[in-house]
């Protein structure tokens, strides 16, 4: 079976980012970029399925600027067999990404698509679900465990109330949560081998997708600094403040 894995290039999770002073976005000039941690978990899961003999081929796809190749190479160093870059210099929003992925799904016909549940830059948590709607494939989001048998994938989902198990017919979409697995390190020989793996490049236009943004960003500003707490004298004062200041009652 074939697995398609989506990987996104994002600011490394260790970088402390700041909004630009003009409020037009986040300053990421010269920042270290990495593969989105949730996407890395998606790659790891695909590689484990291949190691178990369940999957036979893993295709890693990324979208964005040319440098996103680096993240595809990382995915290939971890075990993906080949890569596809959808190159675009415009800001790609979740719906555009989902449409491009739909076009690639139509071409590649994977049995399983694994995505991160969200990326740590935009935190949208939309692409996997949108892809489900566009393709009509079943989706198991926020997966903490998956198992494939008899043409079905069983997904244990992390939901607010606890864990939910869903069973989906293949082909299906899975988005990963943090506890699904712990990604390995790419070994040095595998990093070298990844350079020789095939990487195709296409564009949203070639895939027949209009990449122009639908959502406009008006302003980006840092969250308000947290105010210091206070001590209350007794329960009565606490209740009064909850009622009249916090207005939670």
């Amino acid at each position: 079976m074939k697995i398609l894995v989506a990987v996104k290039r994002v600011v490394d999770y260790n970088v402390k980012v700041r909004p630009k002073s003009d409020g037009t976005g986040v300053d990421i000039a010269n920042a270290k970029m990495s593969i989105n941690p949730f996407c890395e978990i998606a790659v790891e899961e695909a590689v484990r399925l291949k190691e178990k003999g369940v999957a036979t081929e893993i295709v890693a796809v990324s979208m964005g600027a040319k440098q996103s190749q680096e993240q595809i190479r990382t995915a290939m160093a971890l075990g993906a067999d080949r890569g596809i870059l959808v190159e675009s210099d415009t800001e790609l929003q979740p719906l555009t990404i989902a449409k491009c992925l739909k076009a690639i799904v139509d071409n590649e016909k994977p049995d399983l698509v694994i995505l991160g549940k969200q990326s740590i830059d935009g935190d949208n948590n939309q692409t996997g679900q949108m892809l489900g709607a566009l393709t009509g494939m079943g989706q198991g989001t926020f997966a903490s465990e998956i198992e494939i048998a008899d043409g079905k994938v069983s997904v244990i989902r992390e939901v607010d109330g606890g864990l939910q198990t869903v069973s989906l017919s293949l082909p299906a979409i899975v988005t990963t949560d943090l506890r699904l697995n712990e990604p390995r390190y790419a070994s040095l020989p595998n990093i070298m081998k990844a350079k020789k793996k095939p990487l195709d490049t296409t564009t949203p236009e070639e895939l027949g997708v209009d990449a122009s943004p639908r959502v406009q960003t008006l302003k980006v500003e840092p969250p308000a600094e947290r105010q210091a707490g206070i001590k209350v004298a007794d329960v009565a004062e606490l209740v009064d403040k909850l009622k009249n200041e916090a207005k939670v009652f």
């Binding site: 390190y185 040095l188 020989p189 990093i191």
Partner: protein
């Protein structure tokens, strides 16, 4: 060397630096406090590095290595050193100072016998040159002897300050085979820790780089088969001297990693520490220190990468003399001396907390001095440079 977005590293080398940095941050950094507190050694890491292919960087693939260059090895030393310089030192000694030396000078028999296990991390390597009575005059005053006994040599003597000594499985050991020839009567041997007559006399407690293991070793009629002679009998001085050039070169990226981290945490601390109702980074005297640290870090980077790329073109049997001898001595002297200045500034910015043993900046600070003493003192480095300049 063209400058690029990675400050001189190729894309491949940058990827190695990223891998070493990630492994350093996630695996080596959490080990550092216990190593520093207890001079503790994390046994599980070397096999892990073997699996990741991060051992034997400069050793060809046929022996289990990666077959890459000194710049690549340097990138790994740099990445590790940012997070755990003590471990980086152990790695450098194993991978380059011992293994690269062994590969460059040893027979096919020795290469095939020892390199694969050093490359997969099942064996740890060390190099034993210094003795209690022999430091800067390492060759002339060497007292350890090796005398022929049938098919073997019998080693007798003591080696001092040997990094990885307490945990090493395979050691490159220098001993005098012809005392009458002085420095030209030395031979290099491969010694296994299980050879009869080999003993770790004591594990030493250090000021810095704590957790990287250091020992005094005693050879008491230690029996070493003649096939374990590295290079030729009485030609050990060549092995020592060319090895020292590589050693000095590979120590510079380790110092760079230490300095990068010292600058990073100093910038962070200066922006969070408040005095007079403002971050101390708003004071020009703190800014001046940060600017000076940055300048020195970048200068060490440039010299480090330059000297590493120079060592890549040293032919087999070369080194230990001429331009490369001067360059490596100058580069490590520059890096070591300026590391001391950077670390001094880092602690000053951290103020009282920087004087507390368990803080990261204090651990970094205690790495001062060693690289001015090991691999040739600053004095010896100056002699090498001056001799090179004045001979004609």
């Amino acid at each position: 060397m063209a400058l690029n977005e990675h400050g001189g590293l190729t894309d491949d080398q940058q990827q190695l630096l990223d891998l070493a940095d990630k492994f350093g941050r996630e695996v080596l950094f959490p080990l550092a406090p216990k190593m520093d507190d207890e001079e503790w050694w994390p046994e599980e890491v070397f096999p892990q590095l073997g699996e990741l292919g991060l051992l034997g960087i400069t050793v060809p693939e046929q022996y289990g290595g990666a077959g890459l260059d000194m710049m690549s090895a340097g990138a790994i030393a740099q990445g590790f050193a940012r997070w755990n310089h003590a471990f980086a030192l152990s790695w450098v000694v194993h991978d380059n100072i011992m293994m690269n030396n062994l590969y460059r000078n040893a027979s096919e028999f020795i290469r095939n016998k020892y390199l694969p296990r050093l490359c997969d991390g099942s064996s740890i390597g060390a190099l034993a040159l210094t003795e209690p009575g022999s430091g800067s005059d390492a060759l002339g005053s060497m007292r350890t002897t090796a005398t022929r006994d049938g098919d073997d040599f019998l080693l007798n003597g003591t080696k001092m300050f040997i990094t990885n000594g307490p945990v090493a499985d395979v050691l490159l050991v220098y001993a005098k085979t012809d005392v009458s020839r002085g420095a030209k009567g030395i031979t290099a041997f491969v010694v296994e820790k299980d050879f009869p007559g080999f003993n770790v006399a004591q594990k030493l407690t250090k000021m810095g780089y704590r957790g990287s293991q250091t020992a005094e070793l005693v050879f008491d009629n230690c029996r070493v088969p003649a096939e374990n002679v590295v290079g030729e009998v009485n030609m050990g001085h060549k092995v020592v001297m060319s090895g020292l050039d590589f050693e000095r070169a590979i120590l510079t990226p380790m110092l760079l990693g230490i300095c990068e981290r010292a600058l990073e945490i100093s910038v962070e601390y200066s922006q969070t520490r408040k005095q007079f109702d403002q971050p101390i980074s708003s004071f020009q005297m703190v800014q001046s220190r940060l600017a000076e640290m940055y300048m020195l870090v970048e200068a060490i980077r440039s010299y480090s990468y330059r000297v590493l790329s120079l060592t890549d073109s040293v032919e087999h049997g070369e080194g230990g003399r001429g331009e490369i001898h001067m360059q490596t001595a100058a580069a490590v002297m520059f890096a070591a001396n300026n590391t001391n200045i950077i670390l001094d500034n880092a602690v000053q910015i951290h103020g009282g907390s920087g004087y507390i043993w368990e803080t990261e900046v204090n651990r970094l600070f205690r790495s001062t001095k060693l690289m001015e003493i090991g691999a040739g003192t600053t004095e010896v480095r100056k002699v090498i440079i001056a001799e090179g300049l004045l001979q004609s």
